[in-house]
């Protein structure tokens, strides 16, 4: 079933009555996603694209059996919504929302760590199990079914890499955007672990960028735990220091940490081939797999 999401997963859309929520619900349904309910406090009883809307997550779970939720909730409301969703027993939460205060992100992450839940984001394009279902905003026509798992810190680059892979004869099993904030709910290693166990994934592509230490930590994790081949691409070779490159998390601090050089070195050290430019990813995958 690839990881975290498949065509049977009963999906809830939070913030379904907002502009982005409505449009994206249509796209997700068109892709075949099994959306069973929506939640917007105060809008219970309405319908969006034929999907019933409830006031609370607990209600959506009780009436429709929702088990995963995608957030189009405005930033100030996310902390409370996340607590409610975790308390209702939802096992997968995808937070698409951008610009959530990082202190709120830390609080949610600490709360989630005491529960059985996978929470991904914020500022994530979402997750797509190709050919089955998607939770998030990624454009469906960028993805082709196949056996490569993709983990990306950037939304648009996950599209770019996926369509380039497909062009080179390689489809994807599941593509996950971990989110572009400095603190994310789930770091790259936790997703590597899921792909390692997934029988539908033969190779994992990591799309990283300047800032933070996720790629360096991923390298340590790969060295200890991952047996499948991994290929990486790190963007931002020409990013100036101490400038936020659009993503809040994409910044090379003055202490020289978070540079593409340090990430590339850490990954190369543990045997991961690192592309310097997006189109090179296919060439590196070809060293391990035959195209379809």
């Amino acid at each position: 079933m690839s990881i975290l999401l498949n065509k049977d997963t009963k999906v809830l859309v939070q913030g379904i009555t907002g502009r982005a929520g409505r449009v994206q619900t249509r796209w997700m349904l068109d892709y075949g996603t099994n959306i069973v309910a929506g939640v917007t406090p105060g809008k219970g009883g309405e319908e969006v694209e034929g999907i019933p809307v409830y006031d609370t997550v607990a209600e959506a779970v009780a009436r429709q059996g929702a088990e995963a939720s995608v957030f189009f909730v405005p930033p100030p409301a996310v902390k409370e919504a996340a607590r409610q969703t975790i308390d209702a027993g939802i096992r997968l939460i995808i937070v698409v929302t951008e610009h959530i205060p990082v202190h709120d992100v830390m609080e949610i992450r600490e709360y989630a760590s005491g529960h059985e839940v996978h929470i991904i984001g914020p500022t994530s394009p979402g997750i797509i199990t190709v050919g089955e279902a998607k939770m998030g905003i990624m454009p469906a026509n960028m993805f082709t079914p196949g056996r490569i798992g993709v983990i990306s810190r950037s939304g648009t680059l996950s599209y770019e890499i996926s369509i380039n892979l497909a062009n080179g004869g390689f489809g994807q099993s599941t593509v996950v955007g971990v989110g572009a904030d400095p603190v994310v709910f789930t770091n790259i290693p936790a997703l590597l672990k899921l792909f390692e166990k997934d029988p539908d994934t033969d190779l994992i592509v990591i799309v990283g960028e300047v800032g933070g230490v996720q790629e360096e930590k991923a390298a340590e994790f790969i060295d200890r735990w991952i047996t499948k081949p991994v290929v990486a691409y790190i963007t931002g070779l020409n990013a100036p220091e101490e400038k936020r490159m659009g993503h809040a998390g994409a910044i090379i601090q003055g202490d020289g940490k978070g540079t593409p050089q340090s990430k590339t070195a850490a990954l190369t050290e543990v045997g991961v081939d690192v592309a310097r430019y997006p189109a090179q990813v296919v060439d590196l995958v070809l060293k391990h797999l035959k195209p379809a």
Binding site: V102, N141, G155, N164, V213, G246
Partner: protein, 380 residues
């Protein structure tokens, strides 16, 4: 948003962390006036958003009023690390008997606040960590519980502080944590905290950065982003709601994603030189991309424009209309190449093609840049 020192010190005072008496001045005359009120000697400090002000000549001690006039004249007319100085802080000069480093930051990877303390303050924490690693103590804190006073005291003991130093510094550390938490800080740092010979503990500097995403709940601070960005084009980008960074080349970029924008920069840099980084964010409209096109073409000597957009959350066909409207109204004749994929891609291509924009049909950005490069060859 990085705060100026005087703003940071004000937040510290709100949590009862004292600092030497000080006042802002924008002219040498004003500086003299303030120095008279405060009493000599004073220290004059350029209010610019960068570290290392001492080394860059942005901080001077003045023993007499003539010194104050001269030094403030010098500092106010200067640039510190490329940033023009419009204001100086005139502060009582304090003799430190001992200096400490106190900082609260975020451990991004683990997603927790991180409290850092060193018995050796005064220089950058990176230098302290390199040269006096044994004096640096750090501790992750549960965001829901906060930093308890007992934890702060324990850190002080671990850092080798004794007696009054330990109790007083622990108190300041707890207060600093409250600043961090109450104002959604990414960094709250006192370097140094000084013990004076009178036995008081004073913050001699404050470095505070507040999370931009949290500003909606700190409107009472009246912080404006505009006077913090020195580059006029970058300021304009901020005004219209996009991220623009000026670079030193001549190929303009519009990208609908930060990762994509960086990748585009990297690819262009192989053979040409990017003029800017531009990321539209996820709220593209016709109007926004009209303004964005205006912004990226303002720099002198732009030879070509590369557009790289994906229709995920963004209605790229709407954006395309804004770009071509700008091009028509302003008679843009430089080569413009667009790679546009995702939802509404065919519609977007049509709009571009009908208006003289070269559409990349290949899915790779590399191929698109090659196309732009060959168009530029033809122009030559």
């Amino acid at each position: 948003m990085r705060l100026y020192e005087f703003e940071g010190l004000e937040l510290l005072r709100r949590e009862a962390i004292p600092s030497p008496e000080s006042a802002l001045a924008t002219s040498p005359e004003e500086a003299v006036e303030k120095a008279q009120d405060i009493g000599l000697p004073v220290v004059l400090k350029a209010q610019v958003l960068t570290g290392g002000r001492w080394l860059a000549g942005g901080v001077e001690i003045a023993e007499s009023l003539d010194d104050v006039r001269e030094a403030s004249h010098r500092i106010l007319g200067s640039s510190v690390r490329g940033l023009p100085v419009h204001r100086i802080l005139v502060a009582q000069s304090v003799k430190a008997v001992r200096e400490f480093y106190l900082g609260i930051t975020i451990d991004d990877y683990h997603g927790t606040p991180l409290v850092i303390l060193s018995a050796e303050g005064g220089v950058s924490i990176n230098n302290i960590a390199r040269e006096h690693a044994e004096t640096v103590v750090s501790r992750p804190v549960s965001i829901s519980k906060g930093l308890e006073l007992s934890e702060a005291k324990q850190m002080c003991r671990q850092a080798g502080l004794k007696g009054k130093d330990a109790t007083e510094v622990a108190g300041v550390l707890s207060s600093l944590y409250r600043v961090f938490r109450n104002y959604d800080a990414l960094i709250a740092e006192i370097n140094p905290l000084a013990r004076t010979k009178e036995g008081t503990y004073l913050a001699l500097d404050a470095k505070v950065e507040i999370d931009d995403s949290s500003l909606y709940r700190h409107t009472d601070l009246n912080l404006s982003m505009q006077d913090r960005i020195a580059n006029p084009l970058e300021r304009k980008g901020r005004e219209i709601g996009v991220t623009y960074l000026e670079l030193d080349g001549d190929i303009a970029i519009i990208a609908s994603g930060a990762g994509l924008g960086m990748a585009t920069m990297d690819i262009i840099s192989q053979t040409m030189r990017p003029a800017n980084f531009l990321e539209t964010g996820g709220a593209i409209t016709e109007d926004l991309l009209y303004k964005v096109t205006d912004l990226v073409l303002q720099k002198k000597g732009i030879r070509g424009l590369f557009i790289n957009v994906y229709g995920g959350i963004n209605p790229i066909h709407e954006g395309a209309k804004g770009i071509v409207r700008y091009m028509q109204e302003h008679n843009v004749t430089i080569p413009v190449v667009a790679k546009a994929l995702g939802n509404h891609q065919e519609e977007t291509w049509e709009i571009f093609r009908q208006n003289g924009v070269h559409v990349v049909t290949d899915v790779s950005t590399e191929k698109g840049i090659e196309q732009l490069a060959s168009l530029l060859e033809e122009v030559r």
